[in-house]
Symmetry: C2
Subunit: 491 residues, 2 copies
């Protein structure tokens, strides 16, 4: 099975597509641009959700649920927001179908036209701030720290599984605060939660930064993001956190009475990560044999494959393995004993490599005699024979080591592929021939940013939050600049 | 606050509406028929989800995610399904908006009309069975046991928070099997899961049964349901499990090759519960003071209210309480210490009664001196003074007792309100003057069922799975009947 996977060096994009499908993560559906997330892919997403949800709750947030539909007029309320969001979206115009008397089948009932069209939410700021108007009156109602897990729809013309789909799953946090400072603090705090999650669970190093005006969320005062580097040298924006100022409060007339009795508009933030993270996870670590999953997000952390010819051999192996399985489970390690008799060990080995199971154990009759087990790790493909006694602790440590190893490898890759450019020629050469992140001076204008994008396809991913301040000249215009910004060609 | 609640005896329906809103469970949104589920309501739903999800996984099911949109033509494939589902639904006809040059605002772009309209899923059998066609080829691919947590939309004309809303949240299981027997077994097994969940977590006794043809799911061979009785004597269908035969497999051409090499259509089931369960939970147990939540689903199981006048009194109480809080948390009990200085104890007492917190502790300076605490249980409103030492164990037992007590009370209510009718006059009298469940003989025809409904509003909720077989005469037509069926006026 794994053999059919396109090699990364051959066609990275095709490799990704092949891998997502062959590893049973997702597939395209009958509806243009919408994906089906298959059980194995969904199990990874559930693990991501569980960790993120825990982190949100630990930082004081509560979940709620707001409607899928947004009245069309809501989008017009915030001037920038409408420009950015109300265009490519799914519009509900009718609420009934009827039998087609002439041609059979069913047709839209023209009598069931909605007075005002409803938009399937592409993001929920408008409906949520329209609701917050009734929830917020006094400073005692603040802060309001709410998150929702939901599906959203953006009618993308060119879609790719997980990376860009018409419908996707995400979480969107929407918070309300009494002061500007508190809202900014929240924006940065949630960026920190995303960065912790990416680095400590997904094992993907990310750069935290602020977006330029061009790349800002429609309606935000400032957009912050975490940016990750994929193996093909392209950047992937992996999460955003927006400081919305008082924009939505003004658009939806949400005011509060402060401690001193003065009425003021509420300050707000919003922040989100989506099933796009699944794409990042696949592209950051996997290889030509298949997925490489960080143990903390792997639905199956350890697979045990029995090697046998005769039924009594399998019985002996099963007997020995059963206590190992319970010991691993007792440690909170998810384990699968694959004693399926229809598949050969070689097929299973390839299958679990494809699926990215971090640790594989193989046990044959000789191992039973010798009290040993063959253990192999997915990330490095290294194998060794270890005593079966005490192997639980060994596996536990190995899972920790793999988690760290995958992160270190991704970090090394990013370090090797982050370069500085001091001239326009050098910049073009790096972007076109090396890819990766390029740190370069920029004059701070959208005009220059647009021209650089036109000529090289590279965009400013962010202005890193931790950044050396130094005098320099814009690589494109030669105008003075005080810091380098992070360029890359992005997904 | 609690005072503003309409009393049940005055207007049950208004009491329900008041309670859902005042207890911060949900509210109506700006979009007709769609609700906002507020954080407190959502926290209860999350607890329900967590338990159900665990039960589904323990019975071998996996989660996945299928598209929100269903191509219109899919509905026409299964003849009964289209009759039942394709009518009152939200239809997406366009995928773009544009600026309205003349009047400002935005309008639907007429150039962005979809070739085929998309329906927002009212249920997902069609899109899922269209997908299963590519997943199922051999008997080795079966059984396929999949569930999804999702939002669905049915364009209801008269909506009520949780009980009937245009958009609602639910889970829908869709399974595929090699044999008719196995599919029926799955249908009954999942009905059992729902019944276990209702009785052991929601503390609501339910009757398991099979639906008559009139009440069957559109496209099912048989629909099974669990039926609960609310305090106003109306029945609430709380979960359904459908044996779909080969209907959807035939409609979407899903066949498998059996062990003997013969091709056959796949057998299937589907089953679901929704946020409607929130309505059942509220209506089954709550009283004129507010919610009564079973401890297993209460977001806050224990609230501690300090009674004090001076700051140093609060400090002493807080100090004593802090170890109690950690001890309770260590036992897995969720606890809130409400030391908010802006609200008086009386206000807090009423608030937590409204919110249905199962156990309330009140601690004042005299309690600190005496080593005591006042404990009161929400279900019976009984109070007592107990020693603070050892109160953790006391609370733990009390929570178990409350869980049982609530169930027992609901069961007693149902027993008292389940009656037999042996004549048409008796039946009408019971339905109109007593409500509740009425067991009566029926001749087995839809015609009779419809007439009984027209004259009394009562419907056959189900034919109980556990049912005495006895000779009798239909209360309406006098024709022979072999068993009584369960009638009630239903939500």
């Amino acid at each position: 099975m794994a053999k059919e996977l396109t090699q990364r060096s051959e066609n990275y994009s095709q490799w990704y597509q092949d891998l997502v499908i062959k590893a049973d993560l997702a597939e395209n559906s009958a509806v243009r641009g919408c994906m089906v997330i298959k059980p194995y892919g969904y199990a990874i997403w559930e693990k991501m959700q569980a960790e993120l949800d825990r982190m949100f709750k630990e930082t004081g947030h509560q979940n709620a649920y707001f409607p899928l539909f947004i009245p069309k007029s809501f989008f017009s309320r915030e001037a920038d927001h409408v420009e950015g969001f109300a265009k490519e979206c799914a519009v509900v115009t009718h609420y009934r179908l009827k039998n087609d008397e002439q041609n059979g089948g069913i047709v839209v009932d023209p009598d069931a036209k909605l007075e005002e069209e409803l938009i399937i939410r592409p993001t929920s700021e408008t409906i949520i701030w329209n609701t917050y108007r009734n929830w917020i009156h006094s400073h005692r109602d603040l802060p309001l720290l709410i998150n929702q897990w939901a599906n959203v729809v953006r009618w993308e013309m060119r879609t790719r599984l997980f990376l860009r789909t018409a419908e996707f799953l995400w979480q969107e946090g929407h918070t309300a605060h009494a002061t500007r400072e508190e809202a900014i603090e929240e924006t940065i705090k949630m960026l920190g939660v995303y960065s912790d999650f990416a680095e400590n669970f997904m094992a993907i190093p990310v750069i935290k930064g602020v977006k330029t005006e061009n790349e800002r969320f429609a309606g935000a005062v400032d957009t912050y993001s975490i940016e990750a580097l994929m193996q093909d040298g392209k950047a992937l924006q992996s999460g955003t956190s927006h400081f919305l100022g008082q924009n939505f409060a003004k658009a939806f007339d949400v005011k509060f009475t402060g401690k001193e009795g003065r009425e003021e508009y509420v300050w707000s933030t919003s922040w989100g990560v989506s099933t796009r993270l699944m794409g990042a996870l696949v592209m950051a670590h996997s290889d030509d044999n298949g997925l490489v999953l960080p143990p903390k997000l792997a639905p199956i952390q350890v697979v045990i494959v029995p090697i046998y010819k005769k039924t009594e051999q399998l019985e002996k192996i099963s007997e020995r393995v059963s206590s190992l399985v319970s010991d691993l489970k007792a440690k909170g390690i998810s384990v699968k004993f694959d004693d399926n008799d229809n598949k050969k060990p070689g097929w299973k080995f390839a299958e679990y490599e494809l699926k990215g199971v971090p640790v594989r154990l193989a046990i044959g009759p000789r191992d039973i005699e010798n009290g040993t087990v063959e253990i192999s790790r997915r990330d490095t493909l290294q194998k060794e024979i270890i005593p079966i006694d005490g192997c639980v602790e060994y596996i536990e440590n190995l899972l920790t080591e793999i988690q760290k190893g995958i992160y270190r490898k991704a970090l090394d890759f990013r370090t090797e592929n982050t370069r500085s450019a001091d001239s326009w020629d050098e910049f073009k050469d790096l972007i076109q021939n090396k890819g990766g992140f390029v740190l370069a001076h920029w004059d701070g204008t959208s005009e220059t940013e647009n021209k650089i994008k036109e000529e090289t396809k590279a965009t400013i991913r962010c202005i890193p939050l931790v950044n050396i301040q130094e005098q320099g000249k814009c690589i494109y215009t030669g105008k003075p600049s005080k810091q380098r910004v992070l360029f890359a060609v992005a997904y």
